[in-house]
C-alpha cells in the first residue's frame, strides 16, 4: 500500500491552491510571482490574520468578502520613499530631461506606483524642469488601497526628513517643503501636483498596453516576479514605449536575463535606465 504522505510538502500544495482560489475567484494572478518572498508574505498574512493553515485562509478568502482586501494588502504593500535612490532621479534630471524637452507632449507611466512616492517625486521634478504642463502621468497599481492613498497624497511626517534629503541629493531646485503642508502628523502634498496624474488599476500580469509612453518607470516591482512574468512585463513596457523612449528599473533590477534585452540599449547603465532601440 502506498504511504499516505503527500509527495509535495503540504504547505506548498496549500499555497498553490490558495493562489488558484485568488485567481479563479477574484482574477488576482500571483501564480507567477517569485515564490520565496511570496511564501514569506503568505505565512505572515496567515499568522497575523489568525489562521492555522493556508487552507483555512483559503476557505475564508472564498467565503468571507472581508478577507480579500486584507490579504491583498499583505501581498502587495511596498515600503518606498520619495526620490528613493537620488542618483536615479538625478540621472532623469540631467540625462533624460534634455531628450524629453524635444517632445511637445509627454506621457509618463509609473508602473506599480504603490503609495505614490515615485509619481509625486517625478511630478515635482518635472515642475522644477518646466515640463509639467506638457506631461500626462499615469500611476498604476493592483492594490486599490495603495492607489487611494497615492491619490490622497498623504505621507507620514516622520519620513519627510529623509524625503527632503533625497530630494536635495537628486539635484532638487526648490525646497520640498514648498509642496506640502503638515497636519495631524502627516504631510499633505499640494493637490496641484496630481492635476496631471491619472491613478488607475492596472495589472502587469493580466492587462495590456494602454498608451504610447515616453518614459516607463517601474522600480522594485519586477523583483517580485518570476522570469516568465518579468518577460511579460518587460514586453509590455517595450510595446508601450515610443521609439527611443526610456525604461527605468530599480537599482538591482536588470534586463540582462530577459529575451527582450535586445530591444533596449543601456542609456544610464549604473542607474538601470534603458532606451528602446529605434528599429
Amino acid at each position: 500500500m502506498k504511504k499516505a504522505i503527500p509527495s509535495e510538502k503540504t504547505e506548498d500544495i496549500e499555497l498553490r491552491l490558495l493562489l488558484e482560489a485568488l485567481y479563479c475567484g477574484y482574477h488576482y494572478d500571483f501564480r507567477n510571482y517569485a515564490m520565496a518572498s511570496l511564501k514569506r508574505r503568505l505565512r505572515q498574512a496567515r499568522e497575523q490574520l489568525g489562521f492555522a493553515t493556508l487552507s483555512a485562509l483559503q476557505e475564508s478568502l472564498l467565503h468571507d468578502p472581508a478577507t480579500l482586501p486584507r490579504l491583498i494588502g499583505y501581498l502587495t504593500v511596498q515600503v518606498s520613499e520619495m526620490f528613493r535612490d537620488p542618483a536615479y532621479f538625478r540621472a532623469i534630471r540631467e540625462k533624460l530631461v534634455p531628450h524629453l524637452r524635444t517632445y511637445p507632449s509627454l506621457k509618463i507611466w509609473v508602473a506599480g506606483c504603490s503609495g505614490g512616492e515615485e509619481v509625486y517625486s517625478l511630478a515635482i521634478l518635472f515642475r522644477e524642469e518646466g515640463l509639467e504642463t506638457r506631461t500626462q502621468f499615469y500611476a498604476t497599481d493592483i492594490n486599490h488601497e495603495a492607489l487611494a492613498r497615492a491619490e490622497a497624497g498623504l505621507f507620514a511626517l516622520d519620513q519627510l526628513q529623509l524625503f527632503t534629503e533625497n530630494h536635495r541629493k537628486s539635484g532638487g531646485k526648490s525646497s520640498l517643503s514648498d509642496y506640502y503642508s503638515a497636519a495631524y502628523g502627516r504631510a499633505s502634498f499640494d493637490r496641484s501636483l496630481r492635476r496631471r496624474v491619472v491613478f488607475s488599476d492596472h495589472s502587469l500580469v493580466t492587462d495590456a498596453v494602454f498608451g504610447e509612453m515616453h518614459l516607463v518607470s517601474c522600480r522594485n516591482v519586477l523583483i517580485y516576479f518570476d522570469r516568465t512574468l518579468q518577460d511579460r512585463a518587460i514586453g509590455l513596457f517595450k510595446d508601450s514605449l515610443v521609439r527611443k523612449g526610456f525604461l527605468g528599473l530599480g537599482a538591482k533590477e536588470t534586463l540582462r536575463f530577459s529575451p527582450h534585452a535586445g530591444a533596449f540599449a543601456d542609456f544610464v547603465r549604473e542607474e538601470r535606465i534603458y532606451q528602446r532601440r529605434a528599429e
Partner: protein, 192 residues
Amino acid sequence: MTKIPPQAVVIGASAGALEALTTILPALPADFLLPLMIVVHMPSDSPSALTELLQARCRIRVREAEDKEPLSGATAYFAPPDYHLLVEAGGHLSLSNDEPVLYSRPSIDVLFESAADAYGPAVVAIVLSGTNRDGAVGLKAVVEAGGMAIVQTPQEAFAAAMPEAAKAMCPGARVLSLRDIAAYLQKVGSQP
C-alpha cells in the same frame, strides 16, 4: 542512513564578518562545487568594498547578487545593501524590498528560511560573528528541514552574541572554529 549531499551553502555574518569571511572563503578551491549565498549586515553606503576586498583574496568568484541570477558553483553571492536575498527552488536568486526583519535588510533569517524551503536537507547554513540575534530563527528552519546547521565557536568570534543566539535556538548545531568550518566546506564541496 544515506546522507544527502549539500547543494548550496548559506552564510550570515554581522560585526566581525570580514575577519571571519577572510578565513573561510580564500580556503575554497577554484573548482568548489557549491554556490554560497551570503548576508552581511553593513551600512548601505559601502556596497562593493567588501566583495572587491574578498575577490582579491579568493579563488572562487565573489560578487553582489543580481535578481533572478541562476546559481553556479564556486561563486559567493552577497546580498546587496538594503535588499533581502532569497533563493528560489529552481536554483536562482531573488531580491526583495520587503520590510527589514529584526531591523535588518538584508536579513539572515530571510535568506536561511528561503534556503530551507528551496533545498530542504541539501543545504549547509552557517552563522558567524555578530552582535544581534539575526540568523537564529532561520537556522532553526534549516534544522527542521533536515539541513546542516553550523555555528562559529562563540569564544572565537569577534562578537559572540549572534552565534550564541543561534546555538541557543538550535542546540543540535555543530559548533566549529573558522578553520574547521573552512575544512568542512572543502570536504563537502569537492569532487567525490
